[in-house]
Symmetry: C2
Subunit: 379 residues, 2 copies
């Protein structure tokens, strides 16, 4: 069967992961989760499917159009297949773990499904692995989440990790201070999204110079912070800027190797974020590896978190090292193979006596074969 015929077996955007990719993904998730665990993030595992009303509550509402629904024959209520794990973890934090001491550090990893892929991410199923830090409004909490996810990626081997910082509540604070609302606000928002300074000048009224300065400030964090510091921002916006400066300082101290950029007018994809947010990238890769930021947990509790997208993370990593496969002819004492497995070999047992063990080893994809005098290389 040809590869195109094979692909046709599955719906668009869904795929079989084959060796060695499936094992590689699992090992990367395992390493990430172990790293999170060592920093006190305790793993939770929500179900793949739950009632629509709880799944799409609050922050989950953003994924409504991306969520597959099925009827629950037991309750006759609609259920949704999760398109994002973050709202589920927020639900757990607010309910089952509502009485646990704060700050609450949680981690999670699992698969999500989406009704349609996007141009940037055509996959309809992919793995998420992430953390949530719930119950703290401290800048140190924002910094911890960013540093940990960026460091985890770097330790995995992702080259040139960078974070693009955004303040999705900054522009709304400026709009509010200048009385910009309704259609004007919408058109300005669109112009800002496209960094369209001319339209901002035409529509921005008294706020135009400030908004143009915000567009122009985008860039490396040090320069962006100094340009932002020079601006006369309304109080709510100024607080956002000061928090940004504080977090950048903490992150730079903890992880000086991390490239930080700031885009003060960025908003897309952060519709449910309530403060400092970020997107993680790797050098020479367009797709984002993860994103995170501050949001409002259950009962208005302050929270921040980050999610890594495993498909992008895997694409950014050098591939797995090939396993050392040792062919063990039929009849070899069991303890011998065991001894070699302990040494790190993958052993492949012959099920029938082979006329030539080396030929059989090669046929079964083994670089080495166990002979009467020990391991021999199969060229």
């Amino acid at each position: 069967m040809t590869e195109s015929a094979n692909r046709a077996l599955l719906p668009a955007g869904l795929r079989d992961m084959l060796p060695p990719d499936a094992e590689f993904e699992a090992s990367v998730v395992h390493s990430l989760m172990s790293m999170f665990a060592r920093h006190g993030y305790d793993r939770v595992k929500p179900p793949l499917i739950e009632f629509e009303e709880s799944l799409l509550d609050g922050a989950g509402g953003g994924t409504s159009s991306q969520t597959f629904r099925v009827m629950d024959p037991m309750s006759q209520k609609m259920m949704g297949l999760r398109a994002d794990m973050t709202p589920q973890v927020a639900r757990i934090a607010a309910t089952r773990l509502g009485t646990q001491p704060r700050p609450l550090r949680l981690s999670y990893a699992g698969q999500v499904l989406r009704v349609k892929g996007t141009q940037l991410r055509p996959e309809r199923q992919f793995g998420q692995a992430g953390i949530e830090l719930i119950g703290s409004d401290e800048a140190r909490a924002d910094a911890e989440v960013l540093v940990m996810t960026a460091e985890a990626l770097a330790e995995m081997g992702v080259p040139g990790v960078s974070a693009d910082l955004a303040l999705p509540t900054l522009v709304p604070a400026v709009f509010a201070a200048y009385g910009i609302s309704g259609e004007t606000a919408e058109r300005l928002r669109a112009a800002l999204d496209h960094k369209d300074s001319a339209t901002v000048a035409a529509l921005g009224g008294q706020a135009a110079p400030l908004l143009q300065a915000l567009i122009a400030a985008a860039g490396p964090a040090a320069r962006a912070l100094s340009e932002l510091a020079a601006l006369d921002l309304p109080p709510a916006a100024a607080r956002e800027r000061d928090r940004l400066a504080q977090v950048v300082g903490l992150v730079a101290a903890d992880l000086p190797s991390l490239t930080l950029t700031v885009d003060p007018v960025e908003n897309r994809g952060f519709e449910y974020h309530t403060g400092l947010s970020f997107t993680l990238f790797a050098r020479n890769m367009g797709a984002e590896l993860g994103r995170g930021g501050r949001y409002q947990g259950g009962g208005g509790e302050p929270a921040t978190g980050a999610t890594l997208f495993m498909d992008s993370v895997l694409a950014a990593l050098p591939g797995p090292k090939p396993a050392r496969r040792l062919f063990v002819p039929a009849g070899t004492p069991r303890a011998w193979a065991q001894a070699f497995r302990v040494q790190g070999w993958v052993t492949v047992s012959g099920l029938v006596p082979a006329a030539d063990s080396k030929i059989e080893a090669k046929r079964q994809g083994c670089g080495h074969c166990l002979g009467p005098d020990g391991i021999v290389e199969v060229e």
Copy 2:
């Protein structure tokens, strides 16, 4: 919120796994899969959802009534949420990996969803982890799969692992040889399922003594084999018996600690199996930990495999060891915490200065606290 209110948040049979259970499950799956990998089983990862027609093809047909369906808006075709991963792995072996050399050893782990729970397994979502050995009809292949899964369970710490062996094609071979079919066959099958020797005597005709002897032979493998050896079985059934004896011999040699029982008339749950099959149990636990056996792969290829059910496996294991949590007060140099993590500590960072670090450590569930003079215990 009370635990019952919390439970009401989720549909029946679905649940949130909390700390430390979620981490424990993931670590057990990781260990199992690593063990399978060291024996040359390469991991594959099929999607959670695929076209109904491929998901429910062949051996997958048995899960049709247990499968949630959704419409694919892109192809307008029906898709199913997998209720079992085995048919997916068989599909991959027959298509994408159809040209790989045989025997093909594959492993998999993932979540499955079922429309309704059963009395024995009320969960509607649970994890599977398993192996498939495809392209060999050897008794050694049957033995390898059974030994590996049983040994993996024992190495994880499951107490008293036992395997109940079945030959789902034995009774059909007897029926065929004695010309038993139609309603008589169905009624006899039901009587055999309930070990109802009296009904078997009444309905079995000339085959009755043999069928009664098969019922009576159930028990420890050594005794069952000797009773079966004394029976005058029709040729096809005799071949099954001889294969059973061969596999029991291989398994007993490789894993003498494994308790083996045989039930020659057992059939339930093995409707799609074509030869030696087995169910794995732990001492003092009713629920099965896994099951496996011989089946027909794509294109009639001989295959055998086994699946472990993670919910039962976890229930059979002693719980996880609690982590050593070390509270690291705010302002502690980052390298210190890192040094302790390398030593195996879980570090929990303070986000704000604490008046009394030991009190704060205790509040955050840490048994130890990092002070100016090193680690102090928090009682």
